[in-house]
Symmetry: C2
């Protein structure tokens, strides 16, 4: 069953080795004044910064560097928006991972707005325009390169917000798997865990269709297989290319067009965790996943577990449903542990005494307890999940 939906992802994907040769032509469509945004300098170490500068010798480049993981409204978004206004920027070129790109998206909107930018990000005001965004992505993870969302933290108020607007689709995204060769084991594992979670958030919903189920199972199989290869052999092009491509599908809806909408509860929980403790997003999600699964397992949800058990893990079809579900939960736990993620939040510095406050925060900012959700979570459920994850 495919329910009503509209779908339109206008981003042009350039994929593969040396694809950035087309960058000047693509950027040139938008103008000459470019704000180059990047993070802590890994793009310099891998030579990408110099390559981009050489390719763009005919453009006027301005720079915003030092964008942090879990990108911050203040200073990064505010600084970027100021630079765009000052230098009449035509297009933003984001070079880096999902955090740099998310920050760039927020900058693109805030640069075209005269009021307080947080009003856009928090949904109080709808943006009327945004600068065009082009990106070179260097981490297979968030899918930001192919969606209209970004996640921005406002540390002043312990808030981490998902901000969605059709204006935020990148005009073009350049995905060269070789730029992910230097991603270390921890980031490779956490990036893949993030992407796996994107699929699972969409898989646990109703109604669903044979077609979407198959696409999502295929995405999970590809991610879980290829991350193991990439961890073993960081410059395996086949594995890195498949991880990079599958991750791009994570969040623009194409995995689940016409399926029910779950509300993305695990992301709601994780956003609170990183707002309070600035932990790595994918690690937080991986730790939460099996605990969340255990919490929502019920007669209503068990069919989803059974489909994962038979189609993804190849478990015996004759297993009783509850047992199959337990085995699926255990399999995800073991998988995440096997790629090097510590499976306790305590190991990432999360403090048990904050759980109650975080549960309130989740319900206030992300509302995981709506009646339309596939598996609503009230405060007691949130606390159980967080406590089990410690």
């Amino acid at each position: 069953m495919i329910c009503n939906f509209t779908y339109n992802t206008p981003t042009k994907l350039y994929f593969g080795k040396d694809c950035i040769k087309d960058l000047p032509a693509e950027l040139g469509k938008h103008g000459k004044n470019v704000l180059l945004t990047y993070g802590g300098g890994s793009i310099k170490k891998m030579g990408l910064y110099d390559k981009v500068k050489a390719l763009l010798k005919d453009f006027c480049l301005f720079e915003l560097s030092g964008i942090e993981p879990n990108p911050k409204y203040d200073p990064s978004v505010l600084d970027g928006a100021r630079l765009c206004k000052e230098h009449r920027i035509d297009v933003i070129l984001s070079v880096g991972g999902g955090s740099v790109l998310d920050c760039s998206k927020a900058i693109a909107a805030c640069a075209c707005y005269d009021g307080e930018g947080w009003d856009l990000i928090s949904g109080k005001v709808k943006a009327k325009a945004a600068l065009p965004i082009v990106d070179i992505i260097t981490l297979a993870a968030t899918g930001s390169e192919y969606d209209m969302g970004c996640v921005i933290s406002n540390t002043a108020i312990n808030d981490k917000r998902g901000y969605l607007d059709e204006l935020l689709y990148p005009a073009a995204s350049f995905l060269d798997p070789e730029y992910t060769y230097s991603v270390n084991k921890w980031q490779t594992a956490c990036g893949t865990a993030d992407a796996i979670n994107h699929v699972l958030e969409q898989f646990f919903a109703k109604p669903h269709s044979l077609f979407n189920d198959g696409i999502m199972i295929s995405a999970l199989r590809s991610l879980m297989t290829n991350v193991k290869i990439a961890l073993e052999k960081p410059d395996d092009y086949a594995a890195r290319s498949e991880l990079m491509y599958v991750c791009a599908w994570g969040c623009n809806g194409i995995l689940s067009n016409g399926a029910g909408y779950s509300g993305w509860p695990m992301h709601s929980i994780e956003h609170a965790l990183s707002a309070y403790f600035d932990i790595t997003h994918g690690a937080g999600l991986a730790i939460i996943t099996p605990r969340w699964m255990k919490e929502i397992l019920s007669e209503k949800t068990v069919e989803r577990f059974v489909t994962l058990g038979t189609e993804l893990f190849g478990f015996d079809k004759d297993l009783p449903d509850p047992e199959m579900a337990e085995q699926v939960i255990q399999a995800f736990y073991e998988f995440f542990a096997s790629i090097g993620i510590p499976m306790q939040l305590g190991e990432l510095g999360v403090k048990a005494e904050t759980i109650d406050e975080m549960a309130d925060h989740i319900l206030e900012y992300d509302s995981t307890n709506e009646p339309w959700m596939f598996a609503p979570l009230d405060k007691a459920a949130l606390i159980r999940i967080l406590e089990a994850s410690m």
Copy 2:
């Protein structure tokens, strides 16, 4: 392994029951003068024509009706282009199946060209512009609603051409599964056979990836399962909606981004068949499919059959490869027969004495014998396939 590719499908999909309520807003983006194109009148019988007229009471509507299956350059494309020029048409609204939409795409290009339109369609001249196209699709089959291609027949020279141009992506496509309830059993079966063949043309290629393979297997499973339900119960929304959605993915590359390109040999063969005998496209493809598979089965290709055998049909993994391949070929033959397609070309009026001429025609117009192809077909191979299909 994901090879280099670029991908951008800018078409906006509106999917689901009553989605055409958004048609006026969508058309209004392009202008007031609309050329409404349709076929033999089935849209009048089902009430869609009146509904569209009522929705578009504020537009200036001109009409081109009577567009035929396997749409013809002369008269349909030429008439349409003339109407567009005469009435300064802003946007073409195609209402019908893939043939009406294909014809509308060719009209959109020819309307913006002053020379002989066939020069665009045959690839002699590259179009500089095309009118925007919006469509309401009433048949789940060709995928034309989500791609940049069209197939046009020029009966004067027995030619049937695939014409591809980025200018031909529809601006928006409206897919309401209820408009396919009245599609009869023959067209339902042939439309699905067409879509199945689109997947298989892309599946038989190298290299390939775990992710793409999974998507394509999922598409095949969904099509083969849901067509049986729709044939049994024509107004089953779940089945019709899934058929409609999966068919839309057929030809825009999303099933096989980054996989090898096969050259679409079965379509090359079928285009000659319908150019000579005007047979139903999907039926021709269904008949050719198992014979083509038998012809190309070799040590090099057998892995593709084994993947279909284990992943799609659930055959015993321990079967020897050649036996698995034979069973897969037999399974497709039986499947197409089971949905009511006569599995001999002779039953559709194809004459054996034309086979030699058609083989020459295929090699001249579609060249199935290129060294880069996954499984090149020389004249002898084409003759064997056609003779086995009689």
